[in-house]
Amino acid sequence: MKWLAKHRFMILRRLVQITVILLYFGANAWGWTILEGNLGSSLLFKTIPLADPFALLQMSAAGALLGMDVLLGAAIITLFYALIGGRGFCGWICPVNIVTDVANGLRRILRINEIERRVIINRTIRYWILALSIALSAIFGVAAFEFISPIGMLNRGLIFGIGFGGAVIAGVFLFDLFGMKNGFCGHLCPLGGFYSLIGRFSLIRVKHNQERCTLCMKCTEICPEKPVLHMVGKRSEFVVQGECTNCGRCVEVCDDEALHFDIRLLARKS
């Protein structure tokens, strides 16, 4: 029971991640019509279009004049994460998150973190890769990141068959396990960078209560985007950086209820 409580958000996230994939898979394999397509672009209940705004950005840079369905779909997704979900895509939807979370968990169990030498890759490198994606899309006339995206490969792979994409995912796993803590999702992934940017001002946020904090630092240990928890033990405030994936790991590992999900606007008024 205690274990369940300590992993309540993780279990919920896995459920959401697997359900989304299952719905896509069912649409392809058995003709379900709840959620068709994949994370690139999909159709909800045969009517509501959804589309990946970052893919759209690259395609537009590549010079494509796109159809209404994807434009509307990308607008819906952008609005949802910008107003409500923040960078929630990374923690709650993206299938690569499962892979990198397993790598990170193994890291803790095997105590790999303790032998790690300092690797100097900055967390801002994802924004450079994001900029490069747009620039290369414009130069080559193709959506540059979509050609190499492990997210797309795994997502499509689970729905349509993966091929050598499995090797790419194994690469991401090994990189996160032996190469660098939170290497892919926390440093390299431009889609994560993109959602960090648009989710910056979202309503759902983690809030820290400094008075309850006993400085055990379990939250910063578990957090995949450690720098966003810089205020822990110092000030009572919201996690404001866009890089927070709203995964809720910090909330559930805290023994003192010093962290919780809150809605930014309402809390500010009160």
Binding site: A27, N28, E36, G37, N38, G40, S41, S42, L43, P49, A51, D52, A55, L56, M59, A62, G63, A64, L65, L66, G67, D69, V70, G73, W128, I129, L132, A135, L136, I139, F140, G141, V142, A143, A144, E146, F147, I148, G152, M153, R156, G157, I159, F160, G161, I162, G163, F164, G165, A167, V168
Partner: protein
Amino acid sequence: MSKEKLPPLSERRRFLLQALQGLGLATLGALTWSAYLDEASASSLYLRPPGALAEKDFLSHCIRCGLCVEACPYDTLKLARAGDNVPVGTPYFTARMIPCYMCKDIPCVPPCPSGALNESLVTKMAKDGKETLDITQAKMGVAVIDADQCIAFWGIQCDACYRACPLINEAIVIDASRNERTGKHAFMAPRVIGDVCTGCGMCEKACVTEKASIFVLPLAIAKGKAGSNYIKGWDEKDEKRLETQTGGGATTVTPVSDQKAVDYLNSEEF
């Protein structure tokens, strides 16, 4: 031997060096990425679904959602996996495995959310101005015959491709000619009418030789181009082009061109 101790880096120099390092690494990444993109988007020996834009535009428009693949009732369309040598995540088909069966209602085209599969490319306008989907407008590729290996060219009776063709006698015709070797048989050789062929690949699927001797290639590869300077004088419609032809207004001037044209056949002696 005493080493002269260098003064610490100034703030300004540190900043410039860091900027240079970032720029250098970004360039390194960009070059590697560019090389891959160039390579991955260069090959084009695969067939796209009906109504697909020209390959270059198709690559910038396709969001890789797989809705066309899910709509295909014959499992003809596949979403490229890494290692398939097709830009990853884009739809394609292999005619020898499963050809396009040219569904009358073309279920794969309307679901495309981005316009990469374009209804206007498979739409026919009737005389009364009514537009209807028409799969025979599709140009997925064009069938090409290897006359050396096609057994009909050897004089063996086979019209498998001709019979399999959904546009029988329009896209594939049979040319009969006398077989001088036996003196009493005919060659019944298939010939593809390139302007009619949709590239569905049913002929390739039906071909009885060990490796298909009739196969579909993408238009960009299989088609030559005569150039606009050649005009069919015997074709009324083609000759109309003369009227709209603009030669750029260039007139070649040489010492000879100053003289009037001479009717040398009649006025001069040989």
